[in-house]
């Protein structure tokens, strides 16, 4: 395990600027998540670190060594791909042993066997080792894909949305396991995802990336509580933050164009608030409800206690409770 330092890296594919001026340091043993929508440049960032693409400018250091021009094999990284992660012509065992059997590694067969079995136990796939890679369920395939990387002890594990093809329940399980394994091994991981829950629950730091730019990086809490702009604010939080024109509310600070209100910034009552809104729809999720409101023609979504008994057509009043303020360009304005 080692520190990985990315300095001012840019990459364009023809006219598409996939990544602009990315600087990021991943500390030894740290779990960093890159969170961003599709096309943000997440995969490109991982491929640059792995050496599958060459940056147009900037440098990449692993453990203090400049690897910018090195071949992938010389960088000592492991990669879990977004898709196409297993070789269909090999068994599970052979898939997991593949990296260890690389000619440069010259690992004795007995050690390979022991290592693969150890990792297979860790991932609960030890009974599947003799299966063809194609005879597995989606969840098992994904475990094997992660196992292919875990048999090695590289400087850094690069993981490209390894759980995105799984259903919600499996994703939740594997999320926990992956975090546990990372802590046990003290592994350095750069984990790419567009799922905020994965980023929030596993990462020690989250980098929010959009349009090829790293917008903000910090602990999950920092990013959630102190987003630097409306984009970042909209990345985290369920339901998504409501961005409303400041003009609708009295008493916003000067220069504020937009008010960002998450559920916790909104107090809903039957009357007596700052502004009134109409309930359009109530989505029951079991333990809580999503309340879809109409506030002067703008949709507002917030959480409500199912016990509160709101129904469509009700008129409610809203009170803002230390919301986030943004200027005309979407940048954060101090309250």
């Amino acid at each position: 395990m080692a520190e990985v330092e990315i300095k001012a890296v840019s990459k364009a594919f023809g006219k598409t600027q996939a990544l602009s001026d990315l600087s990021l340091t991943i500390g030894d043993g740290e779990f960093v998540a890159l969170l961003g929508p599709t096309g943000a440049g997440k995969t490109t960032a991982l491929r640059l670190i792995a050496g599958l693409e060459q940056p147009d400018s900037g440098s990449i250091r692993i453990d203090g060594r400049d690897v910018t021009g090195d071949a992938p094999a010389d960088r000592d990284v492991a990669f879990v791909f977004q898709q196409y992660s297993l070789y269909p012509h090999l068994t599970v065992f052979e898939n997991m042993a593949f990296a260890l059997r690389a000619p440069t590694r010259r690992m004795p067969e007995a050690d390979i066997r022991a290592k693969v079995q150890e990792v297979a136990r860790l991932l609960h796939i030890e009974t599947k080792l003799d299966n063809k890679a194609t005879q597995l369920s989606g969840g098992q395939m994904q475990r094997v894909a992660i196992g292919r990387a875990l048999v090695r002890s590289p400087s850094i594990y690069l993981m490209d949305e390894p759980l995105s093809s799984l259903d919600a329940k499996l994703r939740g399980e594997l999320r926990l396991e992956l975090k546990r394994i990372q802590v046990d091994l003290g592994a350095t991981i750069l984990y790419v995802t567009h799922d905020q829950t994965e980023a929030m629950t596993m990462a020690s730091r989250i980098g929010v990336i959009e349009g090829g730019r790293l917008m903000q990086i910090g602990t999950p809490r920092e990013i959630y509580e102190n987003p630097i702009n409306a984009h970042v604010a909209a990345r985290l939080g369920q339901p998504t933050i409501n961005l409303l024109p400041a003009a609708l509310f009295a008493g916003a600070p000067v220069g504020v164009e937009t008010i960002g209100a998450r559920t916790e910034h909104l107090t809903i009552a039957r009357g007596g608030g700052d502004i009134s809104a109409t309930v359009k729809r109530v989505e029951h999720l079991g333990d809580q409800s999503h309340l879809h409101l109409d506030l002067a023609g703008r949709p507002v979504v917030t959480l409500a206690d199912p016990e509160a008994g709101f129904g469509a057509g009700d008129v409610v009043s809203l009170r803002l409770n230390r919301p986030l303020f943004f200027d005309a360009k979407g940048w954060r304005v101090a309250a």
């Binding site: 492991a78 898709q83 196409y84 070789y87 269909p88 012509h89 593949f98 000619p103 989606g138 395939m141």
Partner: protein, 317 residues
């Protein structure tokens, strides 16, 4: 791979559709098989039965065609034949009944061996070169890629015989005419364009993440190519090999022009087998029947791959 393998749904065709398709296939098979069956029947006819009119479907089978295919014979007087000892085997017996003796082996076996060496040699070369170039075209940024690919394909658009004279002169100058090497190189160059195009399609279908994963895991690109790409391209390689082999095996025009005594292949040899008073049809038919065997064997061996291969990657593994 993982996700692509699982989801592949096919709407089952209805029974009527299936019966109709089945009938068509059987009809087509019968139509294409009739000439082959006729050739095989002719191979077992006597020369008289072979040219009798109306054609005979029922006849007394004879191995004379095969004997004449493998031997040369000389005409002798009945007295001389009677003075010989007992006949040496079946063919000698048949020859003597026509007042001839077996003079020696014919050229069929050496021609057949030439065909085997030239066809398989050029197929191996064309597929090997084709696989490597297709991989290059598929994975690397080649300058003028589309133009190059089109140029490679365009060599196939012209009838090969159009360049026969220049090639004939060129081969004579550099000493390649009537050599096996010359024929191997010629058939390779004709087939390589087909091989590049077919194989590029197959290799494009193999996700590049497979090799990239291997390269990150410590393999060189070439090792990744051997360990990961080749095993997944076997279907395409097999299909391509069959197409190349069929072309090289059956090629006639160049073979007539460029080969004679030394490197002649079977196709120009078979139709000129002359018997008593003209074409020896049973021998020609016997030569053709045996000539089909290698292609049939090769195709049967690779048929599993071929079935998947000729759908050009449309069906996922």
């Amino acid at each position: 791979m993982t996700s692509a393998t699982t989801a592949h749904s096919v709407v089952e065709p209805s029974t009527t559709t299936r019966r109709f398709a089945g009938t068509l296939v059987v009809l087509y098979a019968i139509i294409t098989m009739i000439p082959l069956v006729w050739i095989m029947l002719t191979a077992f006819k006597s020369p008289d039965d072979a040219i009798s009119y109306p054609p005979k479907v029922m006849f007394k089978p004879s191995l004379e065609g095969f004997c004449n295919l493998f031997t040369t014979r000389s005409r002798q007087t009945p007295e001389f034949i009677r003075s010989l000892g007992p006949p040496q085997g079946l063919c000698d017996d048949i020859a003597r009944s026509r007042n001839m003796v077996v003079a020696g082996p014919s050229n069929y076996v050496p021609r057949f061996v030439n065909s085997l060496i030239i066809a398989f040699g050029s197929t191996v070369l064309a597929v090997a070169l084709g696989t490597l170039s297709a991989y290059g075209f598929s994975r690397f940024r080649v300058p003028l890629k589309d133009d190059l690919l089109f140029f490679i394909l365009s060599t196939r658009m012209m009838p090969p015989i159009a360049v026969a004279i220049p090639i004939y002169l060129m081969y004579r100058t550099i000493g390649l005419s009537d050599t096996r090497l010359g024929m191997i190189l010629l058939y390779t160059s004709v087939n390589v364009s087909l091989a590049v195009w077919l194989l590029k399609g197959f290799i494009d279908e193999i996700p590049r993440e497979y090799e990239e994963a291997a390269m990150i895991d410590g393999y060189t690109r070439f090792q990744a190519f051997v360990k990961v790409v080749l095993p997944q391209a076997t279907t395409g390689i097999a299909a391509t090999a069959i197409f190349c082999l069929i072309f090289a095996w059956n090629e006639y025009a160049f073979a007539v022009l460029l080969t004679s005594g030394n490197a002649q292949t079977a196709p120009p040899f078979i139709p000129i087998i002359i018997g008593e008073g003209g074409q020896d049809w049973p021998a020609v038919a016997a030569g053709t029947t045996l000539f089909l065997v290698p292609i049939v064997v090769f195709t049967v061996l690779l048929r599993k791959h071929l079935l998947r291969g000729i759908t050009f990657g449309a069906v996922r593994k």
